[in-house]
């Protein structure tokens, strides 16, 4: 049986709930299995980033529950949620968001240090990660000296360094040229194929959408279509393994 990674039930994010309610995410059901390579698409303002933030535990829904590997993250306290993110979720942001005062290697190492991983293990992982992203010769360079594509690769390495259950990427190719975007997608696909890493990314980029194996379309905060063979909503009790 395939393992469920993300199971979101009836989640809604409402701004101004007391006055003029605006539904950024409206009663969404989402079910992701391990190893999926999923694109979240939709026009601007459709709620893609909000949905990613909710799934990533960066924001709390007004309604509904989100289970990550069986843990309802909507019930976690702020402190526990930070710890949960650290150990379970990898993030890749649109504008890379690397720490400018740290080198590429230190950026990737930072998250492992937060996890308390031993130096020998960190070194081993870093060596492997930088080999995978093809930046073995750029480890000691600061982000400002890297190209956008290289920075985003380091961001992927950082997301992978913590050995998360899945990676959330918010428009990862938006700030990249076509070659860098293609290279990044190659890398993400490779990680998905070879390491069975689950990816959920929001995008406008047609090149990304074409390479996704599952495409979920959001319109006005609701799922308008889902190319998945499995239903988008499965009762939690049936899928948690």
């Amino acid at each position: 049986m395939e393992k469920t990674v993300i199971d979101a039930h009836n989640i809604s994010k409402i701004y101004n709930p007391e006055t003029i309610p605006v539904y950024a995410v409206n009663n969404v059901h989402l079910h992701l299995l391990e190893g999926e390579f999923t694109a979240l698409v939709g026009p601007s303002g459709s709620g893609k980033t909000t949905l990613l933030n909710l799934i990533g535990g960066l924001d709390k829904p007004n309604e509904g529950n989100i289970y990550i590997n069986g843990t309802d993250i909507t019930k976690l306290s702020a402190g526990k949620l930070i710890d949960f993110r650290l150990h379970n979720i990898g993030f890749v942001f649109q504008s890379f968001n690397l720490i400018p005062v740290l080198t590429a290697k230190e950026n990737a190492e930072f998250i492992m240090l937060l996890q308390g991983i031993k130096k020998s293990e960190r070194e081993k992982r870093l060596q492997q990660l930088f080999k995978e992203i093809g930046l073995e010769d750029k480890t000691d360079i600061r982000p400002s000296q890297l190209s956008g594509g290289q920075q985003q690769r380091v961001a992927v390495a950082r997301a992978l360094a913590s050995r998360p259950h899945f990676i959330l990427a918010d428009e990862p190719t938006a700030n990249l040229d076509s070659v860098s975007a293609s290279n990044l997608l190659d890398l993400m696909e490779k990680l998905n194929r070879e390491e069975n890493m689950t990816f959920l990314f929001s995008t406008h980029d047609q090149r990304v959408i074409e390479r996704a194996r599952r495409v979920i379309t959001l319109v006005d905060g609701r799922i308008a279509s889902d190319s998945a063979a499995v239903p988008t909503s499965i009762p939690h009790e049936q899928v948690v393994t």
């Binding site: 960066l58 930070i82 710890d83 993110r85 993030f91 942001f93 720490i99 740290l102 998250i111």
Partner: protein, 404 residues
């Protein structure tokens, strides 16, 4: 990693950080300078009290201080003097006969404290010889010579060689008067002292007071200032029937002044550091504001809020601490120079300083005993300065911070 980040973060805006570090350095330099100046002034004042006025300790008949009656001489005074001199911690013990009286000239009169002294001993004990600015002082074999302070000489229009009359009561309560000739005019740097105290020969005064070869006071000069309390206790224990007082008991205003100035110096230091704290606070707030997105991202990735707080705290501490050695070093060098060469403050009002008992040339003293306290105050400043920026950083919601 947090420490490394904190250190690198403060160099992201070099000019801003350097300005703050220099502010801390200048603030500390100024603060330590003030402390050193105060310490120098107080040391000078204490030295003046010990060396020129009271000595370290004084021994009297217990009733003498109550009404200053000349009958209250020290019992078996000469034997007592020898015994006191024999204490290893004692550098010198000098006898003094004391009387309160009126100094009368053709132009007026003034109340004075008449000190009957053994000139040779007094010259060393109270450095009277060094302080004489006119005349040679006492001449051997000459009776009825008097050395008066400059302030009194100016007030009574007395010049070297001038005649005056001292009137006082003897041990039998008879009013006696004797004429003296001014053999010297001294200036101690303490105008009120100079106005009040006159010196005559102990033998001469004893003859008029009918105190024989006894005296009222033994002034004790110690080899080491630090032995004061031990020696006072020892003398009190050895001579329980006598009054043994330290300069702190005899000159409580000096002791109070030392304590008050000590407190003032801390207040000045606090004012300087509070002013600095606002500068540091402003810098850190700007730094946090500029890095809102970055901090939001760190929290999003799973950085605990305690670590974010630690980052802001360490940045503030580094920013504050980095200027500290520069401030300390600059203060050490400048104070060292003036400690050797003296700082002439006569331009600030020689008479005013003298009227408070201060020398016009101050030798600032580096307040090494206060360095730990200053360092603690600097760290407290850093901690206080970081609180608001740290709270601002902690309140950042990653989802909002990432949107910026």
């Amino acid at each position: 990693m947090i420490l490394l980040m904190a250190w690198r973060n403060i160099w992201r805006n070099k000019a801003r950080s350097i300005v703050i570090m220099l502010s801390v350095a200048i603030g500390l330099f100024a603060g330590i300078g003030v402390l050193a100046l105060y310490k120098g002034m107080m040391k000078s004042r204490i030295r003046a009290v010990i060396d020129s006025e009271a000595g370290h300790l004084q021994i009297h008949h217990p009733d003498f201080k109550k009404d200053n009656h000349p009958a209250f001489i020290l019992p078996d005074a000469n034997a007592l003097l020898k015994k006191v001199q024999s204490f290893p911690a004692v550098k010198m013990a000098v006898p003094r006969t004391l009387a309160q009286g009126m100094l009368v000239t053709t132009t007026g009169s003034a109340g004075v404290q008449i000190n009957g002294v053994v000139p040779a001993l007094e010259y060393s004990a109270s450095q009277l010889k060094r302080k004489i600015i006119a005349g040679e002082g006492f001449h051997e074999g000459k009776k009825n010579e008097i050395v008066i302070g400059k302030k009194l000489a100016d007030k009574m229009k007395l010049k070297l060689g001038a005649k005056l009359v001292l009137t006082f009561t003897d041990t039998a309560d008879n009013l006696v008067s004797s004429a003296f000739r001014v053999a010297g005019i001294y200036q101690s740097g303490n105008a009120p002292f100079d106005e009040l105290n006159v010196y005559v020969s102990l033998t001469t005064l004893n003859e008029w007071l009918l105190t024989g070869n006894s005296f009222h006071q033994i002034a004790v000069i110690l080899k080491n200032d630090d032995d004061l309390q031990v020696m006072q206790d020892q003398l009190k224990k050895t001579y329980p029937s006598l009054l043994v007082q330290s300069w702190k008991d005899l000159s409580p205003e000096t002791e109070l002044m030392v304590k008050t100035v000590d407190e003032y110096s801390y207040i000045i230091m606090i004012i300087i550091l509070v002013a600095l704290a606002f500068g540091i606070l402003n810098t850190m707030l700007m730094s946090i504001l500029e890095r809102t997105k970055e901090i939001g991202m760190m929290v999003a990735l799973g950085t605990a809020k305690a670590k974010v707080f630690l980052l802001v705290l360490m940045e503030t501490v580094f920013l504050t601490i980095a200027g500290t050695p520069i401030g300390f070093l600059a203060a050490y060098i400048v104070i060292g120079y003036y400690q050797k060469h003296g700082l002439d403050l006569s331009g600030m009002g020689k008479d005013m300083m003298a009227s408070f008992g201060f020398e016009t040339t101050i030798y600032p003293s580096f307040p090494s005993e206060k360095l730990v306290m200053i360092l603690a105050m600097v760290i407290c400043t850093a901690l206080l300065s970081c609180l608001l920026p740290a709270l601002k950083a902690l309140r950042l919601q990653p989802v909002e911070a990432l949107r910026r």
